[in-house]
């Protein structure tokens, strides 16, 4: 997706400490922001789950559950229709695919990514050891609120 040919309709950012109690705050904040698009309740639920998964990963893997680190969430609406959610931590990061060992935690991570990929049109994960992790999720709400189109954008 070429951002250069898109108009940023709206933007928000919020940061909070890496504490599980803040996951609820994160998903409700993003869902509130997203609700200016003409979304169904089911769309909003999907957005909440996706945010919850990305933030849970930042807490458990990025920061190994250390409670005093910062997680940043940015959300953008492009061209009145594309919701972009960016969840960023500056924690441990990882190099390649997640370890395949069988534990309740590795199963949780696999299910979490499966849910994010089912609910969002795209999920990009940028991470490197010691460099933190940045997850960018996008969902095209199909221009429900606008007559503008995005056909001119290269993909």
């Amino acid at each position: 997706m070429e951002e250069t040919c898109q108009d940023r309709t709206n933007h928000m950012s919020v940061s909070f400490l890496s504490q599980p109690v803040n996951i609820g705050l994160a998903r409700v904040t993003v869902a509130c922001f997203a609700s200016q698009l003409d979304l169904t309740l089911s769309d909003l639920e999907e957005i909440k789950v996706s945010v919850s998964e990305a933030v849970s990963n930042a807490i458990v893997h990025g920061y190994q559950r250390a409670p005093g680190e910062l997680i940043k969430i940015e959300a953008n609406i492009w061209d009145n229709s594309i919701l972009e959610i960016i969840v960023e931590d500056s924690g441990a990061g990882f190099a390649g695919p997640l370890p395949e060992e069988e534990s309740e935690e590795s199963e949780r991570v696999r299910l979490g990514f499966m849910l994010m990929r089912s609910f969002m049109d795209s999920v990009e994960v940028n991470s490197a050891p010691g460099q933190g992790t940045r997850v960018v999720m996008r969902k095209d709400t199909k221009g429900k609120t606008t007559t503008k189109n995005i056909i001119t954008c290269a993909t």
Binding site: P20, S52, E107, R108
Partner: protein, 112 residues
Amino acid sequence: MLLHLERNGSSVVARLAGEIDLDVADDLRLALDNALKPDEVRHLILNLSEVSFIDSSGLGVILGRYRKLVHMGGKVSLVDPKPQVRRILELSGLFSIIGEFKSETEALTKIV
């Protein structure tokens, strides 16, 4: 999240309410494992009718209890999830291994 536990013969009935995410997963796992400790307990019935949100942390707790109980010849049953919760359970493939019931009574009847 609220949790109410009740023993019914060889089953534990757990009524959950609220949101199940990473914030409550550890406490929930611990409470369920404690309730499942007695030797004669082999089944877990999770009443999800008042659960408004679940993500992979909640799914992990359910799947973890399922594995433990199946190992002992027991079962996990799910009761009456709300549509948005049901969708997550379905996408995750839980219903291919865990039974879903309309009521606790139905789940209890089918278990034995």
